[in-house]
């Protein structure tokens, strides 16, 4: 049974369309990352799920219960969810213990039960012994853990995290990512996590939803997004992917024959015959001394991760710069022939941000 479903959700702010016809559903106990560049609507989507904003159109359901849509609106306090804010939103006048306890007290739990839960969650997030500290006496990572503990203590079925790692430094971020994975596996809750950092999303999520300018581009597993992007936007956004224009000449059994300039390639893809995009990553390219599929001219090199990352401009077809690591340094302008060993073909058209079929959206 799906835990969280959205049906054609649309939201405007003034005249700006923040979310446009977004639909998806994710199963129980999933870890969903909402990924996209800033301003893509991912935080708005999270706040709609929380009930902090009202959708203009569409429905939001938890299990089969409508939370918002039509004439129904369930306020956030009735939704039984947890939320970790980007700023953590710890109540400054209360101690760590007070922050965790407040919700439990309001829920009417007895003193012993409260104590038990506080001890439990503080152990889960690794904060034993800091009960009496105030938020301003804690480090960023510790505040993050308090915010998470505060949500977990209420034992919600759904926990929302709004860019929870944005205010942490790099090495703390990796540690907290591992913590989120661990805590997710310890609880029965579904997690929804907003981020603009694809590495974060790929590292923790079971499902990733890529948003761009208010539209859902694709929802799938991290591997789907990398290997089988649904749109050129996803292809370029994930894993520093590149795209080149191609003409699709045949489509059969999940494979496409495409013409890249005058070269014919046979690659996986689901594009119909017509104009298409070839999506690939640096690992799909190899430099060959002769032949190859793509003639290019070197425009620049940067030494990175022990190799020369080389930017090459296609010389015989109209396309953007492609990049691959090379072992040696060459003079700019050197001709480099590239062979393409893999990739994924998508349709090119005015509405090229198609969403994958529903069966891909419910992969567990």
């Amino acid at each position: 049974m799906p835990r969280l479903s959205l049906k054609a959700v649309t939201k405007h702010f003034e005249r700006h369309r923040a979310l446009d016809d977004v639909s998806f559903s994710i199963p129980d106990r999933a870890f969903l990352a909402l990924l996209g560049p800033s301003g893509c609507g991912k935080t708005t989507l999270l706040r709609l799920i929380a009930g902090l904003e009202l959708p203009d159109q569409g429905e939001i359901l938890f299990d089969d219960q409508v939370m918002a849509g039509g004439h129904v609106f369930m306020p956030p306090e009735k939704r039984g969810i947890g939320m970790v804010f980007q700023s953590y939103a710890l109540w400054p006048t209360m101690t760590v213990r007070g922050n965790v306890e407040f919700g439990l007290k309001v829920a009417g739990l007895g003193a012993r039960e409260r104590q038990q839960r506080i001890d439990d969650v503080l152990e889960v997030v690794g904060l034993q012994g800091l009960n009496d500290r105030r938020p301003h006496e804690l480090s960023g990572g510790q505040r993050q853990r308090v915010a998470l503990a505060r949500s977990l203590a209420m034992r919600p079925k759904l926990i929302l995290l709004d860019e929870p790692l944005a205010n942490l430094d790099a090495h703390l971020r990796d540690a907290m990512l591992a913590e989120f994975r661990r805590i997710h596996s310890l609880t029965d809750a579904t997690f929804v996590f907003v981020t603009h950092d694809q590495d974060e999303a790929m590292a923790v999520a079971t499902h990733v939803a890529v948003l761009d300018r208010g539209c859902l581009q694709q929802l799938g597993t991290p591997e789907d997004l990398y290997r089988r992007p649904a749109s050129p936007m996803v292809a370029r956004f994930i894993g520093r992917g590149k795209t080149l224009p191609v003409r699709v000449v045949s489509a059969q059994g999940g494979r496409n024959r495409v013409m890249l300039g005058s070269e014919m390639l046979d690659l996986p893809g689901c594009a119909p015959v017509g104009e298409g995009w070839l999506c690939f990553h640096a690992s799909d390219l190899h430099s060959v001394s002769d032949g190859g599929h793509l003639k290019t001219e070197l425009v620049g090199q940067v030494f990175q991760n022990g190799a020369w990352l080389s930017h090459c401009l296609p010389s015989e077809i109209d396309g953007n710069v492609v990049s691959l690591p090379l072992a040696e340094q060459f003079a700019p302008g050197t001709r480099i022939n590239l062979a393409i060993s893999g990739g994924w073909v998508v349709e090119r058209g005015p509405a090229s941000h198609g969403i994958l079929p529903a069966d891909l959206a419910s992969v567990t």
Partner: protein
């Protein structure tokens, strides 16, 4: 050079008068005992009665100010209101209406001749004493008058409240009332306390309300006690009253120190975040709120206006009795016209001079801080935070004797009023200028220096244009405050040098309450018109310079 000029200025207007006050209070008694005068004064029954009067009325009024101010600030900040700008203006109106006018308005509203309550059959029976001539009455009027001080403090804190603190609580399923009490109130508590302590300093120093309500009601407080002693015995009583003034100053100092403690110790650093935007509409509460605010701010003024439109005390209000005779009468009165001219002149001269002194002062304090300036910076605050009575007494003691070299005494002239106003109102313009200067980029001044501009040149062409809006705003606040000043002028005025405040007080004291109402109304109208003009044309002022601004 500039620094020594400022030192002389502060010494003349502030340090010397305060030093004289201390010296007088601490002088030996008639029998020559050490501190004798102070001890006999403190031990006397009248002092104790006045002290307990001050404490009772002030504490009660602070309770009223705090309850009203906090409730109104919460309602205005946390509910989505259509009438918010109008409500805020009305809530802050008691700041603009001078205390003697406020007291008069409430006297007219609740008196036996009340033009509003009498037709409704709610007024006290004829001949009964006005219920406001009591400790509770003084506390009520002062409480309403000082309510905006608490309101402003709490409203500022609520405006800084990050929205996600409230959202985090809602998501945990905490009901709105519990969020208010459990989360929002503790966060704004230091501001509530700070606001209450400011209201307390205002209450102990208030003269207009206890003078108009307490003197007829025979409830002595320190400020009226000082006034009556000086009026009755002249400067001969100065030693005794200096002790009383020191008591007042001491209480004010205690309140200020505790306020600083509260804001430093108990305030918690708030996380940054988008401020809370109210979304809850509450039409019923909004109507109730409007009614309360109108009852507090407008109804008493309406009673005052209706009284002023009557030809004489006791005439019932009606279409056939309404006349503009009182206004015509007071405008024809030479003394009243003189008072308006004097007050306008005093207010403008004070605003101008304070502005001129503040600009180099702020420049030096911020760009060239040194220990002397630091002392001066603290010293100039004193005349504003201590009760006006204390300042006025200091002036009398310092300038009663003829000035050395010229051999002329400025006591009994306009000059002593100017000096007292300069001392008292300087912080009102210096603070906004200093705040504006603080936020300016110091590199602007450094760049001018590198370009070879001297000090005067830099102040004039770099610093001055930057702080001009703040200076103008501060000067306007001074004009509005000084125009209706009563506390200081009641002790320093002399025949021919009356101010508006003194005039209203004198007319009411003579029993001519309809004329007093007319003058009070005219002066309130003058100040309100000034406030409206400034608000309407104030788009160019930096945000937050107008104390009543949203």
């Amino acid at each position: 050079m500039l620094v020594s000029f400022l030192v002389v200025y502060v010494a003349l207007t502030t340090l010397w008068p305060l030093a004289r006050l201390f010296a007088h209070a601490l002088q030996p008694g008639e029998d020559g005992t050490h501190l004798g005068l102070m001890l006999t004064t403190l031990a006397s029954r009248s002092t104790l009665r006045a002290l307990s009067g001050t404490l009772q009325t002030s504490v009660l009024s602070v309770l009223i100010s705090t309850l009203l101010g906090v409730a109104l600030a919460f309602a205005v900040s946390l509910l989505k209101l259509r009438t918010r700008p109008a409500l805020t203006f009305l809530i802050l109106m008691p700041l603009i209406v001078p205390s003697q006018t406020m007291a008069l308005a409430w006297i007219e509203l609740l008196g036996a001749q009340s033009p509003i309550l009498k037709p409704l059959g709610l007024a006290p029976p004829p001949g009964a004493t006005n219920p406001l001539y009591s400790t509770g009455g003084i506390a009520l009027v002062m409480g309403i008058e000082h309510m905006p001080l608490v309101f402003i403090a709490v409203r500022a804190a609520l405006r800084a409240l990050p929205a996600d603190l409230v959202e985090a609580a809602r998501i945990l399923g905490i009901p709105a009332s519990r969020i208010g009490r459990g989360i929002v109130l503790p966060i704004v508590m230091p501001s509530v306390l700070a606001g209450s302590l400011i209201a307390f300093t205002a209450a102990i120093g208030n003269f207009g309300v206890p003078a108009l309500l307490g003197i007829p009601g025979r409830i002595p407080v320190l400020t009226t006690q000082i006034y009556q002693r000086l009026n009755g015995f002249g400067p001969a009583a100065s030693g005794q009253v200096a002790t009383l003034a020191l008591l007042l100053a001491l209480m004010a100092a205690l309140a200020i120190v505790s306020r600083n403690l509260v804001t430093k110790r108990f305030a918690v650093p708030l996380p940054a975040g988008a401020p809370f935007v109210p979304r809850r509409r509450a039409p019923a509460v909004e109507v109730l709120l409007c009614l309360v605010v109108i009852a507090l701010s407008l109804v008493p003024l309406a009673a005052l206006a209706m009284t002023a439109l009557l030809p004489a005390v006791g005439v019932p209000f009606g279409a056939d009795t309404v006349s503009l005779d009182q206004f015509r009468g007071v405008l024809d009165n030479d003394a009243v016209r003189r008072a308006f001219a004097n007050s306008l002149l005093l207010a403008c001269v004070t605003a101008l001079l304070c502005g001129l002194v503040s600009i180099p002062f702020a420049f030096l304090c911020i760009r060239r801080p040194n220990p002397v300036l630091k002392v001066l910076d603290t010293a100039i605050e004193v005349p504003w935070v201590v009760p006006g009575t204390v300042v006025a007494l200091g002036m009398i003691l310092a300038f009663l004797k003829p000035l050395p070299l010229i051999g002329v005494s400025i006591y009994g002239t306009m000059t002593i009023l100017v000096i007292a106003y300069l001392a008292r109102f300087l912080p009102l313009v210096l603070r906004p200028i200093a705040a504006a200067a603080q936020s300016a980029d110091p590199a602007l001044d450094e760049a001018a220096r590198v370009a070879g501009a001297g000090l005067a040149r830099r102040i004039l062409s770099i610093f001055f244009p930057g702080v001009l809006p703040a200076a103008v705003a501060g000067a306007i606040v001074i004009v509005m405050t000084a125009l209706n000043e009563l506390t200081v002028s009641s002790l320093l005025w002399s025949s021919g040098n009356e101010t508006i405040g003194v005039m209203i007080f004198a007319l009411q004291y003579e029993g001519n309450s309809t004329a007093a109402a007319a003058v009070a109304l005219l002066s309130t109208f003058l100040v309100t018109a000034l406030a409206v003009i400034v608000t309407a044309t104030g788009g160019w002022l930096p945000k937050g310079t107008l104390p009543w601004g949203e």
